[in-house]
C-alpha cells in the first residue's frame, strides 16, 4: 500500500526555503507553537492532493490558494510541493505531475485523495453539525455512490411523466369523439360519457321518428342503415342529395372545430410565463437566490455576499424569499403552459382530420357542385398545417408571435370560417334545389348520421379502452417511481443508521456514563438529498444536538463524525490511508482528549496520520499514549523549534545535530563547528526550559536564545539537581564559560573574533555534546525531566537515564500496569478517578515525608 515517504515544500504558505517533512512511511506527531508553520504542511498536502486549500479557497470570496498560497517573499517563483512515495522507485508527485503517468497503485491513491474526507482542522470540527441539511447530504455524497440509481430514478420519473401525458391525450381524444357523437344524436339524449345503452336508446328514438324498428345492439345498426336505404329506394336516385348532405355535415363539423384550434389560452399562459421569467431572470437566478439566503443565514452576514455592501438582513432575506415564491409560481406556469400546448396540438390534429373528411366528401360531388369548396378546404388545411408546425417545438422555443398570427386566421370571424360557411350555404342551396320529398330528406339525413355513428362508436370504444389502459399504465408508473424513491430513501437511511452507530460508538466511547448520545442521521422525508442530525440528551429524544449539547460535547461529536466518516471512506478505498488532524485534540478537555487520543492511536493505527498540536504538554501526553498503545514505532515525533519568515520552521532533530557536530569536529571550520554546536545547545535549552520550568524573562514570540536561557539552566541544575551537577560538573562549568563562543563566531560577525581558534570551537562543541549525552536518552528519545516522586530526581521516560535525588536511591518510572495496580485503579484506561487518585497521592506524600 502506498504511503508518503516525505513531503517537500518551498515557497508555500509559511515556508520559504526548502523544508522536508520526513514521514518515512510512518505517522507523524508534529508539535509547534502557534505560528510556527504546522498548518503550512497541512495546507501543502491539501493543495497537492485536492487542488485547493480549504482555509483559503471558498472561505471568503477574496481568498484563494493560487493567490495567497505562495510565500509572501517568494516573488514570481512558483511554489514547490512534492510528495515522495515509499514505492520501490521512490515516485515523486508534485504540482506539475500528471497522475496518468504514475503507477496504478499511486493513481488509485491520488484518486482517493481527491475527495477531502481525511483532513480535519480545528475550525472545521463543527462543519458537519452546523451545516444545513442539504449541505450535510452533499458532505456525505462521496459515501453514497448513487449515480446509477439516480439515472434509474430519472428514467422512471420520465416514464411516469410520459404515461401521464398519454392519459391526458387519450382523454382528449375520447372527449373529441364523444362530442361528435353527441352532435350527431343530440346532446340532450346522451350524457358526457354516453353508455352503449344510451346510444342504442338515442338511435332507436331517431329510427322511431321515421317508422323504423328499434335496435337492440350497436352492431345491428348496419341493418337499420340498410333498411333506411331500402326505404329511400322508392324515391329514385338520391345519391346526389346524399353526397351533398354528407358534404354539408362534414363542413359543419369543420366549421365547428376550427375556432377550437385558436390557441388563446396557450398564448396568454406563455406570455405571462415569459414576462415573469424575464422579470426574475433579468436580475437573479433561483440557485443564486437560494445560495444567497443560505450564506446570509449561516454566516450571520450583515453585508451582501456579492458586493459586500451593508444590508438590512431581514429585508433582504424577506424579499429573496418572496422572489423564490415567484420562482415557484413560474414553475406552475410552465406546467400550465405545457398542458395548454398539448391541448392546442390535439385540437389542431382533430381539425386536420375534419378537413380530410370534408375534402373527401366534397370530392365525390359533381364538378359543378363543388364550387370553391375544395380550394377553401385546402386553404383551411394549409392554415392548420402551418399552425401545427408552429406548435411542434417545446414551450421554451415556441414562437408565440407565429402562433398568434396563425391563430388569427382561424378565429370565428376570420375570412376562412366565412368562406367555409359560404360553401356550406351553397351546398344547402343546391340540395334544396334538387327534387327531394320531405320524407326522403329526413330518411337521407338520418341514414347519413347513423352511418357516421356506426363509424364513431367503435372509435369511442377504442379510445375509451386506450384511455383506461393509459390510466393503468400511469398508475403503475407512478407506483413504480414512488417505490424506487422509497427504496433509495430506506436503503440510504439504513446506511445512515450504520454510520450513526459508528458515530455513536465513538461518541459514547469518548463520553462513557453520560446521559446523552443516540446520535442519528436521518434522511428527510419531504426533501430529496437532505439529512438531519439528531441526538438524545437525558430524557429529550431525537433533538438537534446544538439545542442542548455544550460546546465541548459538540466538538467531540464533530470529531466522532469525522472519524466515523473517515473509517467509512476507508471501506470504499482501502488503499488510501492518510488522515490529517490539524490541532484538533486541544479543542476538548483533557479527560476527553486522552480518550480520543487513545482511540485514535489504537483504532486508527493502520492509518498514516499527520497529527499536529500547538500544546507541548499534549505533545508529551501523546508520546506517552503512543507507548501505551504500542504504536511508538509507527510514529515519527517532530518538534518545530522556531519559525522565522525567511527560514520557515526549524525541524531539526537533536540526534542529527549531535552527529553533525562529530563530523564537523573531524573536518569542519571553526565557524561551522560553533554554529552547529550553538544550535544543539539552543535545542537542549529550549527543551529543558519546559521540563525544568526555567524562569526566563518573558519575550514576545517566546523565541529565546542561549544567552537568555543558559544562566537560568545552569543555576537550576546547581541548586535543585546536585546529582546531575556533580556528574556533569566539568561540562557544565566549561559551558558556563564557553557558551558565548557560539555568539562570537557562530551567530554574529565580529571582527575581533575572527582569530578564535578551531580548538576553542572544538572544546565548546565537545562540551555541548557531553551535555547532550547526559540529558538525552537515545533509548526512549526523550530528554530528562523531573520525576513526580521522589522530588529532586531527574529521569527520562524509560528510566534509561536517571539522576537520583540527593541522598536517595534511583526510582525507576512505573509501568502503566504497575501504576494501575498501585493506584488501586485510580488511573485506568486514561480515565482518572479523582477521589482515588488524591487518596493515593496523599498516601505517597506521607511516605515521602
Amino acid at each position: 500500500m502506498p504511503r508518503i515517504q516525505r513531503l517537500d515544500l518551498q515557497g508555500f504558505r509559511g515556508i520559504r526555503q526548502s523544508v522536508p517533512l520526513l514521514f518515512e512511511a510512518k505517522s507523524i506527531l508534529l508539535f509547534g507553537e502557534n505560528g510556527t508553520g504546522k498548518s503550512s504542511f497541512v495546507d501543502a498536502l491539501e493543495k497537492l492532493l485536492t487542488g485547493r486549500v480549504s482555509t483559503l479557497d471558498g472561505r471568503a470570496h477574496s481568498l484563494s490558494s493560487d493567490r495567497h498560497g505562495p510565500h509572501i517573499r517568494n516573488g514570481e517563483h512558483p511554489p514547490l510541493i512534492a510528495i515522495t512515495f515509499n514505492d520501490a522507485d521512490g515516485t515523486v508527485f508534485d504540482l506539475q505531475s500528471d497522475p496518468a503517468n504514475l503507477p496504478t497503485a499511486l493513481q488509485e491513491y491520488l484518486q482517493g485523495a481527491r475527495e477531502n474526507l481525511y483532513i480535519l482542522r480545528r475550525r472545521q470540527i463543527l462543519e458537519f453539525i452546523d451545516s444545513q441539511p442539504r449541505q450535510r447530504y452533499d458532505l456525505l455524497r462521496p459515501f453514497l455512490p448513487l449515480s446509477g440509481i439516480e439515472a434509474i430514478e430519472e428514467a422512471l420519473r420520465q416514464a411516469r411523466d410520459r404515461t401521464d401525458t398519454e392519459v391526458r391525450n387519450a382523454a382528449q381524444e375520447t372527449s373529441r369523439l364523444t362530442q361528435d357523437l353527441r352532435r350527431l344524436l343530440g346532446s340532450d339524449t346522451l350524457s358526457e360519457e354516453p353508455t352503449e345503452e344510451q346510444v342504442i336508446r338515442a338511435v332507436s328514438r331517431e329510427l322511431a321518428t321515421v317508422g323504423q324498428a328499434q335496435i337492440t345492439a350497436i352492431p345491428r345498426l348496419s341493418e337499420s342503415i340498410a333498411r333506411l336505404s331500402d326505404a329511400l329506394s322508392p324515391f329514385g336516385d338520391l345519391s346526389r342529395q346524399s353526397q351533398l348532405a354528407n358534404a354539408i355535415q362534414a363542413l359543419e363539423e369543420l366549421v365547428e372545430m376550427i375556432p377550437r384550434v385558436q390557441a388563446m389560452s396557450l398564448i396568454t399562459t406563455v406570455e405571462t410565463l415569459r414576462r415573469r421569467e424575464a422579470r426574475e431572470a433579468r436580475i437573479f437566478y433561483e440557485a443564486v437566490l437560494e445560495q444567497g439566503v443560505r450564506w446570509i443565514g449561516e454566516e450571520s452576514r450583515n453585508t451582501c455576499p456579492l458586493c459586500e455592501q451593508p444590508i438590512d438582513t431581514q429585508r433582504v432575506v424577506g424579499r429573496t424569499q418572496e422572489r423564490l415564491i415567484a420562482m415557484r409560481e413560474i414553475l406552475n406556469l410552465r406546467q400550465e403552459g405545457r398542458r395548454a400546448l398539448e391541448s392546442a396540438r390535439q385540437a389542431v390534429r382533430s381539425a386536420i382530420e375534419a378537413t380530410q373528411r370534408a375534402e373527401a366528401r366534397a370530392r365525390v360531388l359533381a364538378e359543378e357542385e363543388t364550387g370553391r369548396s375544395i380550394e377553401t378546404i385546402a386553404a383551411a388545411r394549409s392554415i392548420l398545417d402551418a399552425l401545427g408546425e408552429v406548435l411542434r417545438g417545446d414551450l421554451a422555443t415556441l414562437d408565440i408571435e407565429a402562433v398568434r398570427r396563425h391563430s388569427a386566421q382561424v378565429s370565428p370571424d376570420a375570412p376562412l370560417v366565412e368562406a367555409l360557411t359560404r360553401c356550406q350555404n351553397e351546398f344547402r342551396a343546391r340540395l334544396s334545389s334538387l327534387p327531394s320529398p320531405q320524407a326522403a330528406q329526413k330518411l337521407l339525413s338520418l341514414r347519413d348520421r347513423l352511418e357516421r355513428v356506426s363509424q364513431i362508436w367503435p372509435e369511442v370504444c377504442r379510445a375509451r379502452a386506450s384511455a383506461k389502459e393509459a390510466l393503468e399504465r400511469a398508475r403503475a408508473a407512478r407506483a413504480i417511481y414512488e417505490d424506487a424513491q422509497a427504496a433509495r430513501k430506506e436503503e440510504v437511511q439504513s446506511l445512515f443508521d450504520e454510520l450513526s452507530k459508528d458515530i455513536n460508538d465513538i461518541y459514547v466511547h469518548l463520553h462513557p456514563d453520560e446521559s446523552h448520545g443516540g446520535v442519528r442521521l436521518e434522511v428527510r422525508e419531504a426533501v430529496q438529498g437532505s439529512v438531519n442530525l439528531r441526538a438524545d440528551f437525558y430524557e429529550r429524544q431525537s433533538e438537534d444536538p446544538r439545542a442542548y449539547y455544550s460546546d465541548a460535547h459538540l466538538d467531540t461529536l464533530g470529531l466522532a463524525i469525522f472519524l466515523a466518516l473517515r473509517r467509512w471512506y476507508r471501506k470504499q478505498r482501502p488503499d488510501f490511508d492518510l488522515m490529517v488532524l490539524d490541532d484538533v485534540l486541544t479543542s476538548v478537555d483533557t479527560a476527553h482528549s486522552v480518550r480520543l487520543s487513545e482511540l485514535l492511536l489504537s483504532e486508527f493505527r493502520d492509518y498514516q496520520v499527520l497529527l499536529t498540536t500547538h500544546d507541548r504538554i499534549w505533545f508529551e501526553h501523546l508520546r506517552d499514549i503512543q507507548a501505551r498503545c504500542g504504536v511508538t514505532q509507527a510514529f515519527v515525533n517532530k518538534v518545530i523549534h522556531k519559525w522565522t519568515i525567511d527560514e520557515g520552521p526549524d525541524l531539526r532533530e537533536p540526534e542529527d545535530e549531535r552527529q553533525a557536530i562529530s563530523r564537523l569536529i573531524a573536518d569542519g571550520s571553526a565557524e561551522e563547528i560553533a554554529v552547529m554546536a550553538g544550535r544543539l545547545l539552543e535545542h537542549i535549552l529550549q527543551e529543558m526550559r519546559y521540563t525544568l520550568r526555567l524562569s526566563v524573562q518573558a519575550k514576545p514570540g517566546e523565541q529565546y536564545e542561549i544567552g537568555e536561557l543558559w544562566p537560568s539552566f545552569y543555576a537550576a541544575i546547581r541548586k535543585d539537581y546536585p546529582t546531575l551537577y556533580k556528574q556533569a560538573r566539568k561540562t557544565l562549568d566549561a559551558l558556563d564559560v564557553r557558551w558565548t563562543v557560539r555568539n562570537w563566531i557562530g551567530a554574529h560577525w565580529n571582527t575581533w573574533a575572527r582569530n578564535v581558534s578551531r580548538s576553542t570551537a572544538i572544546a565548546f562543541a565537545t562540551a555541548v555534546c557531553n551535555l547532550f549525552d547526559r540529558v538525552f536518552c537515545s533509548a526512549c528519545r526523550r530528554f530528562i525531566a523531573p520525576s513526580a516522586t521522589p522530588l529532586g530526581q531527574l529521569a527520562c521516560r524509560c528510566g534509561g537515564r536517571i539522576y537520583p535525588a540527593p541522598g536517595k536511591e534511583a526510582v525507576h518510572p512505573k509501568s502503566r500496569e504497575d501504576l494501575v495496580r498501585d493506584t488501586r485503579g485510580a488511573l485506568r484506561d486514561a480515565r482518572l478517578d479523582t477521589a482515588r487518585y488524591f487518596e493515593w497521592k496523599r498516601a505517597e506524600a506521607g511516605r515521602e515525608r
Binding site: P145, A155, A159, T163, E469, A476, D483
Partner: protein, 65 residues
C-alpha cells in the same frame, strides 16, 4: 438476483421487493421490470414504457380470461 453488496445493488433489490408487494402494479409489469433490472436496462425510459405497455396489456388479457 445475485447477492449484491453495493448500496446501489441493495437499493435495486429493495426496489424490486417493493414493486412485487405493491398491489397497484400488475405482476406482468413487475416481471418485465425484473427482467430489465437483470439485463441492466432499467435506466432506459423507452424500455420501461414498453414494459408498462406490454405488462398492462397482458394483465388485462389474463384478468379477462
Amino acid at each position: 438476483m445475485k447477492e449484491n453488496p453495493t448500496i446501489e445493488g441493495r437499493i435495486l433489490e429493495r426496489f424490486l421487493v417493493k414493486v412485487e408487494a405493491d398491489q397497484t402494479i400488475p405482476p406482468e409489469v413487475v416481471r418485465r421490470l425484473r427482467e430489465l433490472c437483470e439485463r441492466g436496462q432499467i435506466n432506459a425510459v423507452d424500455r420501461i414504457l414498453d414494459a408498462l405497455r406490454e405488462g398492462v396489456k397482458e394483465h388485462a388479457k389474463n384478468s379477462a380470461a
